[in-house]
Amino acid sequence: MDIKSEPSSRSSGEPAQTTEDRRWRLVNRTMRMHGNEPHALIETLHSVQEHFGFLDLDALKYVAGALRVPLSRVYAVATFYHYFTLKPPGEHTCVVCKGTACYIGGASSILDSIQQEVGIGPGETTSDGQISLLTARCLGSCGLAPATVFDGQICGRMTSAAVLERIRRWTNHDTGD
């Protein structure tokens, strides 16, 4: 099948829930705003990730068809940009900033202590799917280094102890504490 043919002929990748799922409507809206043109690819992937938390293969296939972008290019873009993730995130995410100031301020020892306590390295999720550990290039909070983001909330001047304390709150809560 020719990838550059009409999108309708490539609708096989369209997830079944597309029409009724509100999240897909929002993604579709993003594409429509950009005239369903190929140049909307990155904005659309942002939209998918914002609403679904990650990019799965069905979503990539659907976006490729809708925007008439070759499948391999969609995959290339989704893996070139580090902001996009193809893996579902854990229930909670902890982002440790690895910018220069945070590095100087001890970000690596924070990562080490998380590895020791929770057993996951950067980019990994605990086996129970509870906690994901990510690193950021720079959050721009260098004035308060080292910085860490817990479920979207940014916290400055962190120490290993403080980070582990926050993470323990998640795990304790989940065991019904």
Partner: protein, 550 residues
């Protein structure tokens, strides 16, 4: 909708009267730095308490942009008394409200007379910490969009460019290309369609100037873009901003919507035939997209891989059309240049580096935060006077400027002026303005390895020298920091640095070796200690564990 200068003046007047109607105004910093130490809660608590006490009519609580001294956050300022409070928590709220009109609270007092505040020269950040970034009226009250009006109603595009040329300003994004020349090139390019792009993909780790400006004063950047668009003949603009800066994205979007609603963006602005629209495009975590051609590719929805230049974007940019790409800080300088004339800016700074520069002070320095100083300010003054020196009584070792493309400047060069040429002479660059201070607890080989790891994983992978060369350099540095380096590795490091610098396709690769080259130049003894003695004086490298394993 057509907007006249009277309307702007009217808005400014109403806004000023509104604000002056309050006997006390409490400005709470709600830029990302202070937000990350809960300034949002402080603001809420203040608002609630003001409401509870029935003070709404004479006490205004206002969220403002960055006050600069992030180290002391959350910061608030109380106007019109000009009192600064630092490290404010929710529990301080009552006391602050009690003290209004009386004497300041000594415990929280942040001396506004300290060199951190007095030695700055604020142009780009003049409104930061003063205005509410989410209210266009507040910007207009500070003469916002007046420059755009002047430009559209009384200047030709050529006259605008003349002012930028006269200002002598050089691009604040890193390379320091004269802005006037860039504008001239785009304006001369023959094409009906042109674009203006604001590069807000502040990728240098350790730099947050652009983020702060966008979070604190987004309209200034929008106004700068509109003026630029008029000058070069563009009708469409893009702000390319990192997705990692959600607050900046939100504020820019809000600002664009407000500007459109008011009519300072859109069709027939100020009743002229000038149309200008701005769209926001999100970066997606690729440092290389700070490079012009990669940024353009990214806006086009493609992989952010640079292409060889020429053709330059001024000729052949976004969608093949002439495109002006300026950094946030460059554009933020435009409205004051128009208001005060190019010569005014040219009067600030040094002979070849005009105006001011915003720096993000971070690392091992007491006053971490955002500062704006005239070009040519002495580096030692920045570190020890404005920055307040090194904490915990430790020894200064180096200051790193220019991020992963820059270099480390040692003690012996601290008395140099900070300008494009001087920095280049000592093997660093101005870069976008990150300034990381390191003390004797920092190992310079480890720092070089940190930056090389960054460049290696940010390399787009297109050209061989950058893709493989940075990896090889990183592996050599890792060998040295883990205690398995050989004396011959230093020569190999130098060879690879030279290769990557001279044969890479884009600026990322061409500058990637700089941190290694500059640390080899000034801190060679540290490399030798790691290789010959297998020791790391700073204690940052884990040599010991490797030696035990051997």
């Amino acid at each position: 909708m057509t907007l006249a200068i009277e309307d702007l003046e009217g808005i400014a007047k109403i806004e000023k009267e509104r604000q002056e109607g309050f006997r006390h105004r409490i400005n709470v910093c709600i830029a990302a730095g202070c937000l990350s130490c809960q300034s949002g809660l402080v603001r809420e608590a203040l608002e609630k308490e003001v409401g509870r006490r029935g003070m709404e009519n004479w006490c205004l609580v206002k969220g403002v942009g960055c006050l600069g001294l992030c180290a002391a956050g959350p910061l608030i300022s109380v106007e019109p008394d000009g009192v600064y409070y630092q490290g404010v928590t929710v529990s301080d709220v009552s006391e602050i409200l009690d003290s209004l009109g009386g004497s300041p609270i000594g415990r929280l007092h942040c001396p506004a007379q300290s060199p951190f505040f007095t030695r700055q020269h604020r142009i780009v950040t003049e409104n930061c910490g003063k205005i509410d970034p989410e209210r266009i009226e507040d910007y207009i009250a500070e003469r916002g969009y007046e420059a755009l009006y002047t430009v559209l109603r009384s200047m030709t595009p050529g006259e605008v460019i003349e002012q930028v040329v006269a200002s002598g300003m050089r691009g604040r994004g890193g390379a320091g290309f004269p802005s006037g020349l860039k504008w001239t090139a785009v304006s001369k390019a023959v094409n009906n369609t042109k674009f203006v792009i604001c590069n807000a993909d502040e990728g240098d780790p350790g730099a947050f100037m652009d983020r702060s400006v966008l979070e604190s004063d987004p309209h200034r950047v929008i106004e700068g873009m509109a003026i630029a668009a008029y000058a070069v003949g563009a009708r469409h603009g893009y702000v390319y901003v990192r997705a990692e800066y959600p607050l900046a994205v939100k504020r820019v979007r809000t600002a664009i919507a407000q500007a459109e609603r008011l009519g300072v963006l859109g069709s027939g602005i100020f009743n002229t035939r000038f149309d200008f629209k701005i769209e926001v495009r999100l970066g997606a975590g690729a440092f290389v997209c700070g490079e012009e051609t990669a940024l353009i590719a990214s806006i086009e929805g493609r992989l952010g891989r640079p292409r060889p230049r020429p053709p330059f974007p001024a000729e052949f940019g976004l969608w093949g059309c002439p495109t002006l790409i300026n950094n946030v800080e460059t554009l933020a300088n435009i409205p004051p240049i128009v208001r005060n004339g190019g010569r005014w800016l040219a009067g600030i700074g040094t002979e070849k580096s005009k105006g001011t520069k915003v720096f993000a002070l971070a690392g091992r320095v007491n006053n971490t935060g955002l500062i704006e100083v005239p070009m040519g300010t002495i580096l030692r003054d920045i570190v020890f006077d404005i920055g307040g020196g090194i904490p915990e009584g430790r020894q200064f070792k180096a200051v790193q400027t220019g991020g992963p493309s820059g270099g480390c400047i040692p003690e012996q060069h601290l008395d140099m002026p900070v300008d494009y040429e001087s920095l280049a002479a000592v093997g660093s660059i101005m870069g976008s303005g990150g300034m990381i201070i390191m003390d004797d607890a920092s190992c310079m080989v480890d720092v070089a390895q940190f930056f090389m790891e960054f460049c290696m994983s940010e390399s787009c992978g297109k050209c061989v020298p950058c893709r493989v060369g940075t990896t090889q350099i990183y592996h050599l540095l890792r060998k040295i920091t883990n205690g398995t380096g050989k004396p011959s590795d230093l020569a190999m490091l130098e060879e690879l640095c030279d290769l990557v610098k001279n044969t890479s396709l884009c600026g990322l690769g061409q500058t990637a070796p700089n941190p290694v080259i500059s640390t080899l130049r000034y801190f060679r003894n540290e490399y030798l200690e790691h290789i010959d003695d297998k020791t790391c004086q700073a204690g940052a490298c884990k040599i010991g564990s490797v030696r035990e394993a051997l």
